[in-house]
Symmetry: C2
Subunit: 351 residues, 2 copies
Amino acid sequence: MAAHGARNRSGGRPTLEEVAARAGVGRGTVSRVINGSPRVSEATRTAVEAAVAELGYVPNTAARALAANRTDAIALVVPEPETRFFAEPYFSDVLRGVGAELGETEMQLLLIFAGNDRRRQRLAQYLAAHRVDGVLLVSVHADDPLPDLLAQLEIPAVISGRRSADEALPSVDSDNFAGAHSAVEHLLARGRTSIATITGRLDVYGAQRRLDGYRAALSDAGRPVDERLIAPGDFTEEGGRRAMTELLAACPGVDAVFAGSDVMAAGARQVLREAGRRIPDDVALVGFDDSAIARHMDPPLTSVRQPIEEMGRAMIDLLLAEIADDRPASARRLEHRQLVLPTELVERASS
Amino acid sequence: MAAHGARNRSGGRPTLEEVAARAGVGRGTVSRVINGSPRVSEATRTAVEAAVAELGYVPNTAARALAANRTDAIALVVPEPETRFFAEPYFSDVLRGVGAELGETEMQLLLIFAGNDRRRQRLAQYLAAHRVDGVLLVSVHADDPLPDLLAQLEIPAVISGRRSADEALPSVDSDNFAGAHSAVEHLLARGRTSIATITGRLDVYGAQRRLDGYRAALSDAGRPVDERLIAPGDFTEEGGRRAMTELLAACPGVDAVFAGSDVMAAGARQVLREAGRRIPDDVALVGFDDSAIARHMDPPLTSVRQPIEEMGRAMIDLLLAEIADDRPASARRLEHRQLVLPTELVERASS
DNA sequence: AGGTAGTGTGGGAGCGCTCCCACAAGTGAT
DNA sequence: ATCACTTGTGGGAGCGCTCCCACACTACCT
């Protein structure tokens, strides 16, 4: 059963040639069987498959990559330091969705952190060497040069979260506007009158859209938007604390807070607790992402859920389609494959 | 500055040959410069480096992998479904440590989930194809066949958390025994008299060692070990809940709980809360891992910290050493490179 | 002068595949 | 019987690199 081919440099692993000899066919024919070409007779296919099984043949991917100019690997590129990546549950969630979907394919997943200049440099080299067939990009800021580099190198890429309303790259995003809108609507329906918001970094398009949704929900309800109730955060817990402190100072009468992420909501919760405000009695709190911490918070946090699994699946599907599509990139770009998936408000005890 | 080499199949990227022509040297010489061989004169090196810069040359890794039989990539293999991986902060933490350390090298990181049979099959194929230079293994149960497969294929591997006291593979682990010991000591010092423990899955060696540490700490203090105070968990939150429920039923007088992981402690906390027990007044609670949820819990959880960053670094160092070492695996194995890193008790309000 | 190292260099061979051209054999219309 | 296709097959060429042998050239001894 085990491999017994001639000892070659690669440690005794059998080659195509050896399989061919064993099956009594040519090298090309074995290659066709391995790659599922239809132009092979049933008898030959069976013989080759038997030889493959007997020798325990596994194709050498380096050789394949060299000859066919593809790698069967994609990279998930995170233009942030690891610390940020893991502090923000959204990233892990995306990774989980992507991992789940990719498990169904033959593609391999590379995880690349490009959080500082040196690593960016290395990433550029890596991409220039075309070591992956495609790239998944998460957490891209408005002015990030990475997407342009990708376009220039003609490497298929899909972006998680658009950079602007007219994103050039194929993208998958959740409906941040509608999500924020529903959160604020919910707070209004609960009878809250002084609803504040803590925003994410506004150079992230999604954060901007959540703010837009907040504004629109108030306007739609005929309420004025009080700019003092809008506090800038940066998606971190510390940022949430700072923003909440400011809000409390500027508007002591605030009775509801919509935070642009669960992590910031956690920060806000701390400050509220320390200020002696009860949640939800004195101040209602709503987050965004519906990440694990929302369930663990005390009280459990009402939050806007994004369909992460589905987003992962969609990203992979889009990317694989891009990779399979061999028209020049310029022709592809025109199609504007932008997916926006719906969000859902998950109500818990905090509101 | 941009690449202007002859249009070859790989999309116009310059090859070694083109760089050689430009620099007026031979192919071998360019290869030597690229790979930092000392056997090159200063003048030649400078000329080659100029040509590389002018053409924007980047080595083709597929060709290199084929010729040199290495891939410059390592895999982090997780023999669990994605869901488990991300539910357990310990994994993310290891990944973070590994990512941070790997960022300093030229190696790339592949993330492979092998949580079901199909994926295991695929992983075996993948490893048989030697698509990575080495493997990092996390969360391996006592009876997992993966380490043996790795040994058989002679693929360098490092395991995170030993499988037993006499682990055959190089491994990095934290001192689970001492960590648990210190946690229980701490509870004793706080005057607790009825100290229970919730264990992890005992087919994970680390969980067993934590239980051993619990027992030893009690014995060392001259206290008897009451078997009813030992409740089996499985590292999940739900398992923590179940275990705590059992403990409360079996020993209503319990005044302290040492949980084998923070996640299980979170589960226990819920049950305690629902049962009307105050933390730490009625029952003191200590976790293990010092993960993010420990800080976010209410009250913040006292927990045993593992030096995750350092563990990631150590794993990478060990693995790179294994890869660089070209003695046969059988010679290496004898050295038993086992690292056990110290833990530290982080005291918070829960105890 | 002849020998013997050492140093730097060029380029052939070969890694294991895919691509594609050539060709044999079969099938059916003229 | 001839010509066209179609279907299945073999194997040459080539992907871009590393490895290593061969060879010039220098330097320093006898």
